[in-house]
């Protein structure tokens, strides 16, 4: 069967297999963009994969002052975990260590819904009795005195059980240089989609894994079928013109958001073409038996 081709880029007849996750969103504001970004970046550090980090987190988008509750610049942060309990622990730990501590910050709920995760309801105890509860309509805030004034934190934020984690694209190119170029363009296109994050460094992961290992203690190990240096030594999935593979992983608050991000990424990769970018695009799956969400590349092509 001849592979699908779009603008010279080969598209695998494959699909990304994704999993249900618990997701939440908060909005961090600060006196200026720099410090809003700083708090958000710190909070979403070391949050690439639930395997080792407890949660997957990232920056969704930035908001200007007129679109935030306190009129200051803000950054929307999304967090994902496999269970509500883990997400709760991670949210409070990260908000407490990274946002509460960041100068001038305030923290607001940014996801509606009946299921709630406490933030301010937990962090308020830092106030040692001087914390102040403020309610307006159905919104509830905590004011916690800190050394630069007050940390304002919404009592709870929304929790969605319909989040999707593990959408992905595998970009295969001739050299690391061209593959990286395609990946960077895809990432910047996908960052424009609201409701998704790309949790890995700069949105890109170079160490894709397979399930299992020859070592008993390891649950996952390097995906040798996609390692270009092993192309001749193992049952490889790579063609002879491929010298580098990079993966983009996507977590989203909804299935649609993940599909939309993959669509945007594919469009950017195809537009760049094989000469200066990726020669082939694939997607990672486990045969379709583990994850309920299947994102077929052929359905998402531009």
């Amino acid at each position: 069967m001849r592979p699908m081709k779009k603008n010279g880029v080969r598209i695998d007849d494959s699909f990304a297999e994704a999993f249900p996750m618990r997701g939440t969103a908060i909005l961090i504001t600060a006196p200026n963009r720099r410090w809003a970004r700083q708090a958000a970046t710190t909070m979403t550090g070391f949050a690439t994969s639930v395997i080792g980090c407890g949660a997957e987190a990232g920056i969704d988008c930035e908001r200007v002052g007129k679109d935030t509750p306190d009129g200051r610049p803000g950054v929307r942060v999304l967090m994902f975990a496999m269970s509500s309990d883990t997400l709760q622990t991670q949210l409070v730990n990260r908000a407490g260590q990274c946002v509460l501590t960041s100068p001038g910050s305030a923290c607001f709920a940014d996801l509606d819904g009946p299921d709630r995760l406490p933030i301010g309801d937990q962090l308020r105890y830092f106030g040692d009795g001087w914390q102040i509860s403020k309610k307006f309509g159905d919104r509830h805030f905590w004011r916690i005195p800190v050394m630069d004034g007050e940390f304002l934190c919404e009592a709870t934020t929304g929790l969605t059980k319909k989040a999707v984690g593990g959408g992905n694209l595998l970009l295969m190119g001739a050299t690391p240089g061209t593959t990286m170029r395609a990946a960077e363009l895809a990432v910047s296109a996908m960052n424009g989609v609201e409701g998704v994050i790309l949790p890995f460094p700069g949105g890109i992961v170079r160490s894709g894994s397979k399930v299992g290992s020859k070592y008993k203690a390891m649950l996952a190990s390097t995906n040798d079928a996609y390692c270009p240096t092993l192309r001749g030594a193992v049952p490889t999935k790579l063609d002879e013109d491929i010298g580098c593979v990079l993966e983009i992983v996507i977590d989203g608050l909804t299935e649609d958001a993940v599909a939309e991000a993959m669509r945007a990424g594919l469009a950017a990769i195809v537009k760049l073409g094989p000469e200066h970018g990726a020669v082939r695009v694939g997607a990672g799956n486990y045969g379709g038996k583990l994850g309920p969400f299947h994102f077929h590349l052929k359905d998402l092509l531009p």
């Binding site: 509750p69 009129g71 102040i132 403020k134 307006f136």
Partner: protein
């Protein structure tokens, strides 16, 4: 949705208790049933039909055409729906309401919004004493919702306020926010002596403050995110209150004669 309209025939000769004329009690009643409801507070029996001309409509939207300072307890315990009074009311309009919207396009007597726990009460004219306050023997005044007075309020507005937001766009009498437990009280014009007298917690914002009691401790001028948030949330209801809250504010902690975890904000 056509409202249920009560048009006042003439000034009643005695104080009337209008507590039965609320959406959740009138639901399912015919105009004839409603006309037979008794409203008197003296031995002289008076029915709704004697006092009002009734025009049928949805009970979720009740309208009083014409008011009187003899009409007490309008909108008592309203849970949902809208009640509008085109005129004055007597004591305690909107007492113990927990939801819905009550608008008084006139003045009202004491205890307006007394112990309300939710919903919205707007008084276009002036309010009497003990705005939102508890009745004798009760421990708490207003415990939720939004109460707006476009005119002036009497003495001890927000007495024993526990939760919710109270905005007085005019002036307040003496002791506004007395014995406050928590919640928010905003006064946009003058206010009488000793604001926040014996308050435990809660927030009072005064645009034109009198001299504060010595039991309020100056905590300095601050630019607080919470004031900006409240400003944004209040803007649709009171632009003047929203403007006051974005100004730099000086915080006074008190009343140190009580718990001392409350605060009064004054413009810097």
């Amino acid at each position: 949705m056509k409202p249920l309209v009560f048009t006042l025939k003439q000034e009643p000769g005695q104080r009337l208790d209008l507590a039965p004329l609320v959406p959740h009690l009138l639901d399912g009643k015919s105009v004839k049933d409603i006309a037979a409801l008794e409203l008197q507070t003296t031995r002289e029996k008076v029915t709704t039909g004697d006092i009002f001309k009734i025009r049928t409509g949805s009970v979720d939207s009740i309208r009083f055409e014409g008011g009187s300072t003899h009409l007490d307890n309008i909108g008592l315990g309203v849970k949902a729906g809208e009640v509008v009074v085109e005129g004055d009311c007597g004591k305690a309009p909107g007492r113990a309401m927990s939801g819905g919207n009550l608008v008084v396009n006139g003045d009202c007597g004491p205890f307006a919004g007394s112990a309300m726990s939710g919903g919205r009460l707007e008084i276009a004219g002036d309010a009497g004493d003990f705005l939102g306050g508890p009745l004798e023997g009760e421990m708490e005044g207003m415990t939720g919702g939004l109460l707006i007075v476009r005119g002036n309020a009497g003495a001890r507005a927000g007495d024993r306020l526990r939760r919710g937001t109270m905005v007085i766009e005019g002036s307040a009498g003496d002791y506004p926010g007395s014995r406050m437990i928590a919640g928010t009280l905003i006064v946009l014009k003058e206010c009488g002596i000793l604001p926040g007298y014996l308050m435990r917690r809660g927030t009072i914002v005064l645009a034109n403050p009198p001299e504060l009691a010595p039991t309020f401790a100056d905590c300095g001028e601050h630019d607080l995110a919470f004031a900006k948030v409240f400003s944004n949330l209040l803007r649709p209801e009171s632009r003047a209150a929203a403007r006051l809250l974005v100004r730099p504010l000086i915080r006074f902690a008190g009343d140190m004669a009580a718990l001392g975890k409350g605060e009064i904000f004054l413009p810097a």
